[in-house]
């Protein structure tokens, strides 16, 4: 997958929540593992400093359920997974994203067709 380095950070911030929800829908994760999964998905430009607060925000809003798991080294890890409300929220966000893309795609296609005139 193509890396997103150089993409607009605001744009990435907008899709981050949806990405996190999608990844957690597949399986539960702990903080750093989720970071690596986000990066592996191609969003390499997203800083960890954005991901951890986003997880905390989703947890506060009741979209994630957390459980503590003891580890061999150091303090316990916090694993998070989607709650039923989180799953509903993910579907809403997915629909919202798709409808946004449906609106934007024709506009961007229109822009693409006028691109040679602009560059001339």
């Amino acid at each position: 997958m193509q890396a997103t380095t150089g993409h607009d950070s605001q744009l990435l911030k907008g899709v981050l929540v949806l990405v996190l929800l999608r990844l957690l829908d597949r399986r539960e994760s702990y903080g750093y593992e989720l970071v690596t999964r986000v990066h592996a998905a191609g969003l390499t430009a997203v800083a960890e400093g954005s991901i951890y607060p986003a997880i905390a925000r989703l947890e506060r809003d009741g979209y994630l359920v957390a459980r503590m798991a003891p580890t061999q080294s150091g303090p316990a890890r916090k694993y998070v997974r989607l709650s039923p409300a989180g799953r509903r929220f993910m579907h809403e966000r997915t629909q919202a994203w798709r409808s946004l893309v449906a609106v934007l795609d024709p506009l961007l296609a229109d822009h693409d067709s006028t691109l040679p005139e602009v560059t001339r």
Partner: protein
């Protein structure tokens, strides 16, 4: 064991969170989780890289601010503050501090052997060297209501509700609906 640089970074983040009025319990949870995550990251890279990948700590504090539930009044803290204030008032009313050392008079110029202050309708305090009393206080019933109530309001910090706007991070993450 967490490294010194990690501790310093967490300390910095904690300071930023305090400035942003994030409650203690939430700060503790944020720092605990982050310490664990930095440790995990450091195991696959190194501590320096793990901390660098966090990005700007102040930006992160701003982002955590949106995740912190600062809108609830701090009722638990407020109740504790009110109880401590009540206990302090009861102690003040009960305890009598005797004179010690070489206190002859309370004012060497006037030679006053007593002192007395009337605190409106809240209570009175005074002392008397003839009865070997440095401080003796009487707390009126109004004070037992007023001061704990005042402590409750101050500790609850209701003015936070006025200052807390919806955070940019939170509104920024909302997807525009079509």
């Amino acid at each position: 064991m967490t490294g010194v640089r990690t501790q310093l970074t967490l300390h910095r983040l904690n300071r930023f969170l305090i400035r942003r009025n994030v409650p203690y319990r939430q700060r503790r949870g944020i720092l605990r989780d982050l310490r664990r995550n930095v440790r995990d990251a450091a195991e696959s890279t190194d501590e320096h890289t793990a901390l660098r990948q966090l990005g700007d700590i102040e930006d992160m504090a701003d982002a955590y601010c949106g995740a912190a539930d600062r809108r609830r009044p701090r009722t638990r803290t407020a109740v504790i503050a009110a109880m401590w204030t009540l206990a302090a008032l009861v102690a003040l009313a009960v305890v009598r501090i005797p004179t010690f050392g070489t206190i002859d008079v309370f004012d060497r110029y006037t030679g006053a052997t007593t002192w007395h202050i009337q605190l409106w309708r809240l209570g009175e305090m005074g002392g008397d060297t003839t009865s070997q009393t440095l401080l003796h206080a009487t707390v009126y019933s109004y004070a037992y209501l007023l001061f704990p109530a005042l402590a409750f309001v101050v500790a609850a910090r209701p003015w936070r509700l006025l200052r807390n706007r919806p955070s940019g991070a939170r509104s920024g993450s909302r997807m525009p609906s079509s």
